[in-house]
């Protein structure tokens, strides 16, 4: 366990805040985080050369949800992905929940109140091998190494909790933010996505402050991830994490990750 002096911890936290808040809310009253708002105003950029949530520091709360894509025709897929982009960009940026006509059902679940705060949310979308099957004619666009997840020894697999066409990883400071994001996505995509399984995870809240500087002890009592590659080393990331040119992969996968 590393103990950091209060000064250096604060420097690291603000460093994280500085980088992460580039695209965060710019309202004057939010400029100085107070104990009440600390963390909830931190926004991770949604757009960039890579999806957020891969080299982003570990979160305090994570939710993985796999979906079956219910679209019946290839032509429905662009609408699905554009909708996901639009909703996830909003949720990671934060903002006021639009007021609908009072006689219409509310658009938002209301879990986070009238203003959605970013709360360090990242939303990472990935596609499964099954999306590239006979249904949408995408076989030739399948990433070279993408296949159905294999069984490991000692697995006891429940088919209802395996595989999926699409997976979204939601990471933030709190479970509420993740659940709110999931419900928003479900509400926005009726008839296009059906949730298949989900798994939630948690880490102690203080990881928010250390922003990945510590490895954290897991439920088996082990410190997990001490041998992980340093995500700040971009050469290592380009070599081992990101799909790049010259790897015999479809062009659309460049900048993505397995």
């Amino acid at each position: 366990m590393r103990f950091s002096s209060p000064v250096s911890t604060r420097r690291r936290f603000l460093g994280g805040l500085g980088a992460a808040a580039l695209l965060g809310p710019a309202r004057a009253e939010d400029a100085t985080p107070t104990p009440a708002t600390e963390g909830t105003l931190v926004a991770q950029p949604f757009y960039g050369p890579h999806q957020a949530g891969i080299v982003t520091p570990q979160p305090a709360a994570a939710l993985y949800v796999a979906f079956d894509v219910l679209a019946e025709r290839r032509g429905e897929l662009p609408h699905l992905f554009r909708t996901l982009t639009e909703r996830l960009a909003f949720l990671t940026r934060g903002g006021a929940v639009p007021d609908l006509h009072p006689q219409l059902p509310p658009r938002n679940s209301g879990i986070l109140g009238p203003t959605v705060l970013p709360d360090n949310l990242t939303a990472t979308v990935s596609v499964g091998a099954s999306l590239f099957d006979y249904r949408f004619g995408l076989a030739r666009a399948r990433p070279r190494h993408l296949g159905p997840m294999e069984r490991f020894s000692n697995d006891a697999l429940d088919p209802a909790e395996c595989h999926g066409d699409l997976l979204i990883q939601l990471c933030s400071n709190t479970a509420e933010t993740n659940i709110h994001a999931l419900r928003d996505v479900l509400k926005a995509t009726p008839g296009l996505l059906a949730p298949r399984w989900k798994i939630e995870g948690f880490l102690p809240p203080h990881v928010v402050k250390t922003m990945g500087a510590d490895t954290v002890r897991n439920m088996l009592g082990f410190k997990d991830g001490t041998a992980n590659l340093d995500v700040r080393d971009s050469r290592l990331m380009d070599r081992y994490v990101w799909v790049g040119p010259g790897q015999d992969e479809p062009a659309w996968t460049a900048g993505g990750s397995y």
């Binding site: 006509h101 006689q103 059902p105 008839g191 296009l192 059906a194």
Partner: protein, 295 residues
């Protein structure tokens, strides 16, 4: 037929039914909530309802009462078979007896204490299937389909038949709140999407597809009555497409006798194929009240 002529024809039909109702049956009496503890308080509508909407609502009320009548009749046939010890006949009559109720379930749900004696499932009880309060259709369903017997069901069956008569009387006396009537279209679909698609409703007989068919029919009746009042033709077209997709899928599971196959026969792929249009229908129909200016 041109759009405008069809709208006019629909409006005239609805108005004709409404007039026939008013002449033949007189104004419905509001439920007297003081004498009947579980009948709902009539909703107070802030603004008067447009006459065309009122006509549609009156036509729906006629339909609801007619289904409540059919529920009494079909349940009586079902109960007679049980009391005569005719197991095969009772099994055959189980799902058809439920159909009229499933068509107007949101209206029946305005009387929750009554529904608890008609349609309750064992989940609600600590003692599950052994709880003495587990009565009604599903208690009979369990005996007929899991235990394969009509023995000892006489009293439960007789009480069920009596409850359907009580329900019919309550529905006939009720002024269905406008928001509830309009909301029935989406409530029926939401019931499928949120609960019934898991197959937990008819867990002994596996006759869930019968229920879905009835739910959809009931939802479509509301929507069809309201269709002339809906300005957004894209919305109408989308809803009708969703209904058709669901109906076509269910039709593939019809048996030779006109009934439906066991819910267990529904493939995972078809269950997923149902989820899409059902969810879309639920979302679209949930906007009906707002589109009609109802609170």
């Amino acid at each position: 037929m041109p759009e405008i002529a069809r709208l006019d024809r629909d409006r005239r039909r609805v108005a004709a039914v409404a007039v026939a109702m008013l002449i033949g049956l007189g104004e419905p009496r509001p439920a007297s909530s003081l004498e009947q503890p579980d009948s709902p308080r009539p909703a107070r509508q802030a603004r008067p309802i447009a006459p065309e909407l009122a006509a549609a609502l009156a036509a729906y009320r006629t339909y609801a009462v007619a289904q409540a009548d059919a529920f009494v009749r079909e349940t009586a046939r079902f109960v007679t078979a049980i009391q005569a010890g005719q197991l095969a006949e009772a099994r055959r009559l189980y799902a058809p007896a439920r159909a009229p109720y499933e068509r107007i379930e949101p209206v029946a749900a305005l009387f929750p204490e009554l529904i608890k004696r008609i349609d309750v499932r064992s989940d609600e009880f600590e003692l599950r299937e052994r709880d003495p309060a587990f009565v009604g259709f599903h208690r009979l369903e369990m005996a007929l389909f899991t235990h394969g017997t009509t023995e000892g069901l006489g009293e439960v069956a007789e009480r069920l038949a009596a409850e359907t008569v009580t329900l019919r009387d309550r529905v006939a006396a009720l002024a269905i709140p406008p928001a509830k009537a309009v909301g029935a279209a989406s409530a029926l679909i939401e019931g499928i999407a949120a609960i019934k698609i898991s197959g937990e409703e008819e867990r002994y007989s596996r006759t869930d597809l019968w229920d879905f068919q009835a739910n959809i029919e009931g939802s479509k009746v509301v929507f069809t009555l309201l269709r002339p009042l809906l300005a957004d033709r894209d919305f109408v077209a989308r809803v009708e497409r969703s209904y058709k997709r669901v109906e076509d899928l269910l039709a593939r599971y019809r048996g030779a006798d006109g009934g439906f196959q066991s819910y267990d026969n529904l493939t995972a792929r078809d269950r997923n194929a149902l989820k899409g249009p059902i969810t879309l229908l639920a979302e679209d129909l949930s906007t009906l009240r707002g589109r009609l200016g109802l609170d």
